[in-house]
């Protein structure tokens, strides 16, 4: 069974907003899905379901696909970039909302308030927005990711958005596009020659964690195989060992994961490697308990409220885990470098002995001038629109 067929079977119903008729995405979905699954609608289905979703509504939403236009601004800064967190100059382009996979720790459980998996049909508008920013800002470097509110690639066999994005970024040689995924769906774009500035990145966890916490995702082996395919096709790679999940045998699990990575890839082949420990918003605990019980390593974990309001492992435990993963990589080759995602500067300091702002390799990632420049560009465009 090919990927498209699997996805077509996974969705119970496809709601297509009338405004999207004629768009490339809608035409493609109409050709892929049987007509009895498709319903053309004038507005979002289930208007009565709004606000905080129940566990059953959240689970159901993964099987209901809704295609509509996105009316707002596509291009947003990564939510990690808040005061108190060291973050990495990452901008996000959200072409959808909700994920077809089902990770126990997924932040969408406390974030999502729409009862359907939404895909925006107007990617061309997003690309136009990018072109406008590119033209109006004096930016030399910028990273754009598409995997914040939707997995970058798991639905790509349906949308083929990766192809349009890759072609667009061919025109922005100094900008970097990052696909972030837990799937192994790469065949749909791998025939395109790499423009050199597209990074395909994988969130990785040991296979025992994939099996117990990352339901519906590709196995670790399949993710790494897909990464090899991308490398061989000339695409840049990144790996996010995130979230680190404590479990009794965590050291052997993560050592095995590091070995699986270093046995297949050289440091030079991996653009960057990041890690982060499990964290979630306090309100997420209830829905996780309902959906995954307490046998999950996530719900049964020993977490505490931290200063920023999120729940995290004890800071010593986090540092122990970060140090362990870093040391494991360094054992194989000192050229492996990790950075920490969504962590406090104190964690950086206690784990690596330096602030992220002191590291030469990371300075570029954390370069605040890039952020200022994008903001300036956006402000100028808004002013132009108003006048």
């Amino acid at each position: 069974m090919n990927r498209c067929t699997q996805l077509v079977e996974r969705f119970k119903r496809v709601y297509i907003h009338r405004d999207t008729m004629g768009s490339e995405l809608t035409n493609r979905l109409l050709s892929l899905f049987p007509s009895d699954k498709i319903e053309v609608v004038e507005s979002r289905p289930f208007p009565e379901r709004s606000g905080e979703l129940s566990a059953r509504e959240f689970s159901e939403s993964k099987k209901l696909l809704y295609v509509c236009r996105f009316p707002g601004q596509f291009f947003k800064r990564c939510p990690g970039s808040r005061p108190g967190l060291a973050c990495c100059n990452y901008f996000v382009l959200n072409w959808g909302l909700q994920c077809d996979m089902n990770c126990s720790y997924c932040y969408l459980q406390s974030f999502l308030n729409t009862p359907v998996l939404t895909i925006y049909s107007n990617l061309p508008d997003a690309l136009a927005e990018l072109r406008e920013i590119h033209a109006s800002s004096s930016l030399s470097k910028l990273r754009v990711g598409t995997g914040e509110t939707v997995d970058s690639l798991s639905l790509d066999p349906l949308t083929l958005y990766s192809r349009d994005l890759i072609e667009q970024f061919r025109e922005f040689p100094n900008w970097t596009l990052e696909f972030k995924t837990k799937s192994d769906a790469v065949e749909q774009f791998i025939d395109l020659p790499s423009p050199g500035n597209v990074t395909v990145s994988w969130s990785l966890n040991p296979q025992n964690i994939v099996a117990s916490e990352e339901h519906g995702t590709a196995s670790l082996e399949n993710r790494l195989r897909a990464a090899e395919m991308c490398r061989d096709a000339g695409y840049s790679l990144a790996f996010h060992i995130d979230p680190l999940i404590w479990h009794p045998e965590w050291q052997s699990s993560y050592a095995t994961l590091v070995a699986a990575i270093v046995n297949r890839f050289k440091p030079i082949e991996v653009n960057y490697l990041s890690t982060g420990a499990l964290r979630f918003q306090p309100e997420q605990r209830a829905i996780m308990r309902e959906r995954f019980g307490m046998s999950s390593h996530v719900t049964s974990g020993e977490l505490f409220p931290s200063k920023d309001g999120k729940w995290r492992y004890d800071s010593q435990v986090r540092q122990e885990m970060f140090r362990f993963v870093m040391t494991e990589f360094q054992k194989y080759d000192s050229k492996w470098r990790l950075f920490m995602c969504m962590e406090t500067p104190e964690s950086w300091l206690n784990t690596t002995g330096q602030s992220p702002f002191q590291s030469n390799e990371l300075k570029e990632l954390f370069d605040t001038s890039v952020i200022r420049s994008v903001r300036q560009g956006q402000l100028e465009s808004q002013q132009q629109e108003r006048s």
């Binding site: 009565e48 379901r49 709004s50 606000g51 905080e52 979703l53 129940s54 566990a55 059953r56 509504e57 309100e283 605990r285 209830a286 829905i287 308990r289 309902e290 019980g293 307490m294 719900t299 049964s300 020993e302 977490l303 505490f304 409220p305 931290s306 200063k307 729940w311 995290r312 492992y313 004890d314 800071s315 010593q316 435990v317 986090r318």
Partner: protein, 272 residues
């Protein structure tokens, strides 16, 4: 707009909406009904009710909210239950009615209302007295057998503790029971106050960190603290460390004590 209304014998009124409001209707006023459905004054068995729905433009929601301007979540859960069982035709207006009480009608809210309705009345009253919100009660949604938790809830609300402490104990004990602990073993022990009780449950819930904290606590107690400089191992959310109490009576005294603290710092470093 409320009209003058019409008096109807209370024996002829429908009592389906008797959800057991906590506040009783003033004896000086006649019970209120809307088109024959009694809205308040459920304790009255004789006399007449003032029906404000007859020959007026007042809809039942307006009439109901006028009689019950403030209701707690548990009262609303009982009301919802009455509406569902006895007057399902009114359920279509549930969303609008609950909005008047500041609640967004949703599947999640309905689940909370259903669960709360199954809980002992003592617990329901506590929820309303303390103004507990729907989100605070979300841990109950994970309980597979609501009967088993009832004795525990009765005990919880009898504790002398703040709303926040009791809700934290509730969540922790639910998690522990889902992890296989018997609820009977999670009750308050003789001699425990709410803080000690909460601390004990959290220690069971986070055994590795508790063990680590306890080890540090014992070790820190053996360090060479001096008079007027005392320290103890404390947990502050996701961090644990030393909390130091220092009394100084002159700048010289302060400097001396800070100097002594350097020794503590070295001991700490050696212990890490």
């Amino acid at each position: 707009m409320l009209s003058a209304g019409k008096l109807t014998p209370i024996s002829q009124c429908i009592r389906s909406l008797d959800f057991g409001p906590r506040l009783s209707w003033p004896q000086a006023l006649p019970p209120i009904a809307w088109k024959g459905i009694l809205l308040h004054g459920f304790d009255r068995t004789s006399g007449a009710a003032l029906d404000i729905g007859v020959d007026s433009m007042t809809n039942w929601q307006e009439a109901f909210v006028a009689c019950h301007p403030r209701l707690g979540l548990a009262e609303l859960s009982r009301l919802h239950s009455c509406m569902k069982a006895e007057l399902p035709e009114l359920l279509t207006e549930a969303a609008a009615l609950f909005q008047r009480y500041g609640l967004r009608w949703s599947d999640r809210l309905q689940q909370i209302l259903f669960v709360l309705r199954q809980m002992p009345l003592e617990f329901q009253d506590w929820v309303d007295e303390k103004g507990v919100g729907a989100r605070d009660l979300a841990p109950l949604l994970a309980v597979p057998d609501l009967q088993t938790i009832q004795p525990h809830l009765r005990n919880l609300v009898r504790l002398a503790g703040t709303k926040s402490q009791i809700l934290q104990v509730l969540e922790c004990s639910i998690e522990l029971s889902l992890l296989g602990q018997s609820l009977a073993t999670l009750e308050l022990q003789p001699g425990e106050d709410i803080s000690a009780y909460k601390f004990r449950l959290e220690s069971i819930r986070r055994p590795l960190n508790s063990k680590r904290d306890e080890t540090w606590r014992s070790m820190v107690a053996t360090w060479a603290w001096t008079n007027q400089v005392q320290g103890q191992w404390q947990r502050f959310g996701d961090q644990a460390g030393l909390e130091i109490k220092l009394q100084a009576f002159s700048p010289d005294d302060l400097l001396k004590k800070i100097q002594r603290l350097k020794v503590i710092g070295e001991t700490w470093e050696q212990s890490t």
